[in-house]
């Protein structure tokens, strides 16, 4: 009840602001421009982890469940029929960034698990304990011992992380700028189309 009332007040609050409805409008303008090009060509790119392909008549991008290795969600990009140069550039950049991100995080997570495993085994061996105790369960180290590993992992990968950071910020910013340009372009095109329709 409280949540519903809160949601209702939020909705009324936001619709009171004249600017906010423009946002879904802008986005839906971009979307409708994509969908107005009719039945889209099916995306022939296979998503990395799932064998599922979004339906051929898709008019939007599709986003999937998180990849179990990189925890990032794959996106299948919709290619509209009259794709402009700018939109193509945007799509390629997004796809490339997604792949690059996926690669980095997969490597990161796998390296982390491997090194953690090696650390646990080496610590247990140093203590003279077997990997499993009498019940057949794995021994675990307490958080203080694990903290040494966490610290060394961070220190060893410091430069790599810093470089990834810089690159990610750069890409994110470029993608957002491109998206803004594409959105403005499509809005301009809709406006000019409408005004040309009126005059003819």
């Amino acid at each position: 009840m409280a949540a519903g009332a809160a949601a209702a007040t939020w909705r009324s609050f936001f619709f009171f602001f004249p600017r906010v409805p423009l946002l879904p409008q802008r986005l839906s303008a971009a979307c409708s421009r994509r969908s107005s090009s009719g039945a889209a060509a099916p995306k022939d790119k296979t998503p990395k982890t799932s064998t599922f392909r979004p339906a051929a008549s898709s008019t939007h991008d599709w986003i999937g469940p998180p990849n179990p290795l990189s925890n990032l969600r794959p996106i299948v990009y919709h290619v509209p029929e009259n794709e402009s140069e700018l939109e193509k550039r945007l799509r390629h950049l997004r796809q490339e960034t997604e792949d690059w991100n996926h690669e980095f995080w997969t490597k990161q997570n796998i390296t982390f698990s491997k090194e953690k495993e090696a650390f646990i085994i080496s610590q247990l061996q140093a203590k003279g304990l077997t990997l499993r105790d009498e019940d057949g369960r794995r021994r675990a180290l307490n958080s203080e011992e694990m903290a040494k590993f966490y610290k060394s992992f961070l220190d060893n990968n410091r430069t790599r992380h810093a470089n990834y950071n810089k690159e990610w910020y750069r890409r994110n910013f470029t993608i957002t700028l491109l998206m803004a340009r594409v959105a403005l372009n499509s809005m301009w095109r809709t406006i000019t189309k409408r005004s040309s329709k009126k005059t003819t």
């Binding site: 009840m1 409280a2 949540a3 519903g4 809160a6 949601a7 939020w10 909705r11 936001f14 602001f17 600017r19 946002l23 879904p24 986005l27 982890t49 799932s50 064998t51 599922f52 979004p54 898709s58 939007h60 599709w62 999937g64 469940p65 998180p66 179990p68 290795l69 925890n71 969600r73 996106i75 990161q108 796998i110 982390f112 698990s113 491997k114 953690k116 646990i120 085994i121 057949g136 794995r138 675990a140 180290l141 307490n142 958080s143 903290a147 590993f149 966490y150 610290k151 992992f153 961070l154 990968n157 410091r158 992380h161 810093a162 990834y164 950071n165 910020y169 994110n172 957002t176 998206m179």
Partner: protein, 475 residues
């Protein structure tokens, strides 16, 4: 489906319960389906205690504080939902090779298992080829579980994953909820509360309009800062359990949409503060946004100094509240800011203590990971500092002398917990300190408010009345 009685619970409790419900409902559906499936099989495979063990395991892994590195002891007979569960990646990585171990150790298993396991292995090839490299040594014993339930669940798992593909379009009905999560509405509410405390503590007549306007402006500025923070941190948030359900991670809105929302909140917010309140407050609001988005957020991955910058970010809202009331930066404002600054350390250090693995894997440089001893020392130092600041309050004419006295019990308590954390440095003492900090700050501000000094300093108060009678005799 989500309009259960629990949705009526308001506030933090309701949200956390609701979140748990939301997480559990799809899992319960899945469990129900697979249990029904089990039931249809022959009697020897009916529901036994082992199959219901997953229920225990859920709670064990969630509530047990000491269950850190241990992998889940038994193979789960029912699959967990990939994205909703509070899993670390290793568990996913670990389970996959077990399937192959089952397939290869054909001897104890019934024949249908191996034949069924093979197509599963091939479909999972793309996933587990890389995973296998790291996890061969971690084959978990599964002899007590009946493996064919596993296989059944894998097909169901694949189907369920396929269903989770969603169209990337904006659902207007969801937008308010998305915006609330993008702006970290609970954190914003706390920030606005501290600003309100700052306003209320200022020794000037209370102006409700100015009060509301300054709170609104502060809230909008906070929404902006939080949105930009989420925009910058998208891949990192995906990899941390605490943050993986954020709107940008889930693709509910595009990055451009998030930035637009931030601009729509920030520009009017700062403008409101500058024009309707005073330029100083507007400047502080803009400064805070800049500090949070351009200093704190990148620094989180570069150096431990991010915690100190973050403490300053937390200290500015009460200062803003005070300057909104009085129009100038006074020692009282800085004192209130000092309270927030010092409080931040026991609060954040305790919180980050239990998230060390996630921070390490995500590449965040936090004191708790890289300099654990310093982390505990700083938390203790600043908890004690709170006592000192409380004693300073009457000296600066912010409160009366009763304030240090009545705030002493809670300040001593948090210092005691910080001391325990310093000595023991374990998960439970960290958690205790964190939860104490959550109620300590509101209590402290409330006590300060009750002991507020309503009059200004004596010289300012005495001068105007003395000045007035002088011209009269001349007339």
């Amino acid at each position: 489906m989500y309009k259960t009685p629990c949705s009526r619970l308001s506030g933090f409790v309701g949200v956390s319960v609701k979140q748990k419900l939301v997480q559990n409902v799809p899992r319960c559906n899945q469990i129900a389906r697979s249990l029904i499936h089990l039931h249809k099989r022959d009697p020897s495979k009916w529901l036994t205690y082992q199959h219901l063990n997953f229920l225990k395991r859920q709670y064990v892994s969630k509530t047990s504080s000491e269950l850190q590195q241990r992998a889940i002891p038994k193979q789960s007979p029912v699959l967990t939902i990939v994205d909703e569960r509070d899993d670390s990646v290793e568990r996913q990585v670990e389970r996959i090779p077990t399937i192959e171990a089952v397939a290869t150790e054909a001897a104890p298993q019934p024949q249908d298992v191996t034949s069924k396991a093979q197509p599963e292995v091939s479909t999972l090839k793309s996933k587990d080829v890389a995973a296998k490299k790291g996890s061969v040594s971690r084959v978990v014993a599964t002899t007590e579980e009946t493996p064919h339930i596993h296989v059944e669940s894998n097909e169901a798992k694949q189907a369920r994953l396929d269903r989770q593909w969603k169209e990337l379009k904006v659902d207007v009905a969801d937008l308010p909820d998305v915006y609330a999560r993008l702006a970290k509405i609970k954190l914003t509410a706390l920030v606005v509360t501290t600003a309100a405390a700052g306003y209320a503590m200022a020794p000037v007549p209370f102006d409700p309009i100015m009060f509301s306007v300054s709170l609104l402006g502060t809230g909008l500025a906070s929404c902006t800062a939080n949105s930009i923070n989420q925009y910058f941190e998208m891949p990192f948030d995906s990899n941390m359990n605490r943050t993986k359900n954020r709107p940008l991670v889930r693709g509910q809105i595009s990055p451009l949409h998030a930035v637009s929302f931030a601009l729509v909140c920030g520009v009017p917010g700062v403008a409101l503060l500058t024009l309707a309140v005073n330029p100083l407050t507007g400047f502080l609001g803009a400064l805070n946004i800049f500090l949070y988005t351009c200093c704190y957020t990148p620094l989180k991955r570069l150096s431990i100094s991010n915690t100190w910058v973050g403490a300053v970010v937390g200290a500015i809202p009460p200062v803003m509240g005070w300057t909104a009331a009085t129009g100038c930066l006074e020692p009282g404002a800085l004192l209130l800011g000092g309270f927030l600054y010092s409080w931040q350390f026991p609060h954040f250090n305790a919180l980050s203590w239990n998230l060390r693995e996630d921070y390490s894997r995500g590449g965040y440089r936090m004191m708790s990971v890289t300099h654990p001893a310093m982390c505990k020392r700083v938390a203790l130092r600043h908890s004690l500092g709170l006592i000192g600041l409380s004693a300073l309050a009457p000296a600066l004419d912010v409160t009366s002398w009763t304030f240090p006295v009545i705030s002493l019990p809670i300040n001593l308590y948090i210092s005691y917990l910080a001391f325990r954390f310093y000595r023991r440095g374990d998960r439970s003492s960290a958690r205790k300190l964190f939860f104490c900090s959550l109620w300590h700050l509101p209590m402290l501000l409330l006590l300060a408010l009750t002991c507020k000094n309503y009059s200004r300093k004596q010289e300012d108060g005495a001068r105007p009345p003395a000045a007035i009678p002088l011209p009269l005799p001349a007339n």
